[in-house]
């Protein structure tokens, strides 16, 4: 049951990543830019891979936070991601106002989805 929930969250995170305008625009514009020699095929491929990875990871972390505020350690355990990787993406989401630090617990910060 736990594994099924985790798998569903992964699929939802990937769907959210591709629904997000950042990835949609990049995919939509990328081919045109390559055709017009604004971007090399290799640079475009690297960019798409990096962006998919970032957007998927961040949406997967957001799925965990949707269940309630969590520490880096808790998110890392639930997602099986490296702690520093979780932190890196949390800092990015703090920058883009999606996540905030909501408190502290046993020398760790607690992260929550930012409410507007």
């Amino acid at each position: 049951m736990m594994k099924e929930t985790a798998d569903i969250k992964r699929v939802e995170a990937m769907a959210d990543a591709f629904a997000d305008e950042r990835l949609r625009w990049l995919i939509g514009k990328g081919d045109v830019l390559v055709r017009n020699d604004e971007l090399t095929q290799e640079k475009f491929k690297n960019l798409i891979e990096k962006t998919i990875h970032e957007e998927y990871t961040r949406n997967y972390i957001l799925k965990q936070l949707a269940d309630g505020p969590k520490t880096v350690g808790e998110i890392a355990k639930a997602t099986n991601l490296e702690s520093h990787h979780v932190l890196w993406n949390l800092l990015a989401m703090m920058k883009w106002n999606k996540v905030e630090i909501a408190g502290e617990h046993k020398h760790e910060y607690i992260y929550a989805i930012k409410e507007f």
Binding site: E21, R22, L23, W25, L26, K29, L33, E38, L39, K43, F44, L47, T51, E54, T71, V72, G73, A76, S83, H84, V86, L87, L90, L91, A92, M94, K95, W96, E100, I101, E104, H107, E108, Y109
Partner: protein
Amino acid sequence: MTIAGDKVTYDHLLPSETAMVIGGGVAGMQAALDIADQNYRVVLVEKSPSIGGVMAMLDKTFPTLDCSACILTPRLSEVARHPNIELLTYSEVVGVTGKAGDFRVKVLRKARKIDEEKCSGCGDCVPHCPIEVPNEFDQGLGFRKAIYIGFPQNTPLVYTIDSENCIRCGMCEKACVREAVMLDAQDEEVEIPVGAIVVATGYELYDVSKYPRLGYGKYKNVIHALEYERIINAAGPTGGHLMRLSDGKIPRSIGFVQCVGARDLHKGVPNCSRICCMYSIKNAVMAFELAHDHVKDVTLYYADLRAFGKGFEEFKEMAKTRFGVKFIRGRVGEVNENPENRNIRVRVENTESGEFLENEHELVVISPGILPPRTLRALSNQMGLQLDSDGFISVEHASIYPVDTTIPGIYVCGCAESPKDIPDSVAAGSAAAMRASITLAKGGVQ
């Protein structure tokens, strides 16, 4: 004709009434303001998209623990609004000819790709840019888009498109209702006539990864002092929450390692950087200030403590007695990581007691020495300036002409001449401004 319109010329400037300041850090800003306040025109050239220099990156200043941005921001605004100062950011000096009273300076104005007149700094373009890269202003710990300002007080408050990472998707262009985006803009070279020049090109940090034994770049919980400044800064990547980078935990024990890339003949850096002792003591105190419920041990490993300035010795004593910062005399031999908890083990000989120690810290902060910027040699060649053996700009006489370079009409201030703290940089900025205005007043005759 450029995409922005007619080519910008500076023919209206008279060399007898105009000075140029190269570098928009705290020393250069002071020099520009002091010259401009004497009713001369000043062209302030800064290579990055904003003035402010390294001081804009700092959290607090020593020994008063004043908020660095709170002191600097009014200065940024004063420079930007001064009627006698023309600000050329994102620009570099590429050639100088002439003599005191009548120089011609070639400046490369890199294409910001944003119309400075039209951009209001609203930031509506940012969410639409699909490219995310590490922010240099946050020492790579935070993020920015390909269209960006480095920090909230960016002066001028105008966005810049980073040509290296921009893919020209045009999303920012569509988002900008003021039509300020100019993706086809090209770099432009201009020639500016000036009577005197002040060089205030600042410094850069020693690359501490050149000491592999200290683990920087290998262990995530070994960082350098400017990274620490950004981490504890409220406008920084963590929102001012002290944390270590391996797992985001609040460090209970922090070690500061001094004299890395300074006073080391083997690395070709025999000079003392003057500021590292004090900025590290300040950073040690800030750990207790920010996370006093968590931080229980802060240890500073030093070769010699040089607390030479006004109030510095008292500040050091306060760090020791009031905050409990521990000082251990000894240069750190090596560090390695405890694989179980990612803590950092520091090996050092306490040269006062003769003990060999292995202390474990949750975070280690390396204090790099400071060096002249890598571009200073090229600039000095263009201007005919002499450099000292340590790479900083040589002056006519260290005691009686401390801001006069060996070229009449060209002056130097701040860390372009030698490592300095903020008050000394500001004082040197004022001194260079006075020397430059004398040159202007005399029409170049010394």
